[in-house]
Amino acid sequence: MIIDSLAYASRLRTIAAVQKLIFSAAAMIICIAANSFAISALTAAVMLFMIIRVGGTRAKNVFKLMCIPVIFIAASAAAIVVSIGSDSSAMICAVKIGGAYLGVSASGIAAAARTSAKALGAVSCMYFLSLTTPMTDLFSLLRKSPLPDFIAEIAELIYRYIFVLFDAAERIRIAQETRLGYATLKTSYRSTAQLASNLFMRAFRQADRTYTALASRGYEGEINVISERQKISARFCVFSAAYILTVTAAALFAGKAGI
């Protein structure tokens, strides 16, 4: 969960979570709605600049993280490039299988390229949010939202126990590995299943213990937390408003120009 630890270290952490959420959501929506190369590139560039230069996250870490979606995007783009149909006139190269053609068309390549660029822009918006805003800040937004409180409570508890169970899983895995638990395919299956069922048991016991601990401190079914007050940053407000206006205008222009 390197993303979360980077978020805590970001210089943009102190800006109110609601501002960052609105900024990244708006940028993401504009990027997807514009569906243009220029806007996607601009979005990605601005977001990376904000994360690395303004937020102070090391570029090496950010690019390592960008590799995860890039692999996904490349794989899905390949799926879009290939097309199947009865009409092969638009295809650059095609193979006939049965009654249909399997091939690559120019429009398919264009669609794949456009979608990949768009996805890259949108992913950098998501990274802007997740690399500057720790989950705990987002939870306090969730509590203020009209959604019932128990959703935020459960989300917070899940988040907390992901780390607890993750640690336990890692320790079990290492113990299994030192005993050649993953030496062959058969033992790998056994080990993975044992690990999972052991975690299930641990999750139940942990729930028991957590409940006892909470009950002895006066828990009656609700978990209340004091959330940190975050000041609204005027500078960031002006910046995001300017960004949204400029990029919307640019998107309209790019739409007309077709880039």
Partner: protein
Amino acid sequence: MFLANKKTKLSVAALSTLLLLPATYASAMHIMEGYLPLPHCVAWGAVCIPFLIFGGIGMQKQMRGEGKVKILLALSGAFVFILSSLKIPSVTGSCSHPTGTGLGAILFGPSVMSILGIIVLLFQALLLAHGGLTTLGANTFSMAIAGPFVSFGIFKLMKKLKAPSGLAVFLAATIGDLFTYCVTSAQLALAFPDQGFFASLIKFMGIFAPTQLPIAMAEGLLSVIIFNILEKNCRTELTALGVIKKEA
């Protein structure tokens, strides 16, 4: 198929590379951030809402009785998250993860899974960059609603038919996984119809089949082994969840 001329050979070579690329996309079927047009994002989100409300009401009712249920549900959510991050052992050494939703649906019920699922998917997007925020609706529908409901239905049906629990769990997890993959393919085909929805659907299903079929089988197998161990060692917990009946 005749490989008569040079051009055809070249086409075949190019196409097979393209068809092999998605094989690296072996992780569970998340649709990436930014891949769907906005109207699709909104529509899939809207489709999820009734299921989520239904799941939320069910959860609230369960929690009213006892304060402990809430904590148990949270731990279940964390368990599903970790389950989906485990590696499925495979011969090729490719890195693939189970969806975990089949086993989750059997253990915790499908309507609870929809709420736990959307929270887990949100965490996967923000903490691991798997999936996305605008595609959260579409991913929730395929992985946290469609898959779990099918898994649960098959599990109950097999129990009614008095099938051995191993077979019931295997079929529930495998078919639930396959259904998730079909729904994701349909979602992608709707977004990229190319030469018609059905041709596109066949294309996406065909491309993801070589990775998804073995993964589904592997996840089914893994779920059975997990379930067997649970049945042996965690009878009290499983009875509390209503998965198995109390022994007379």
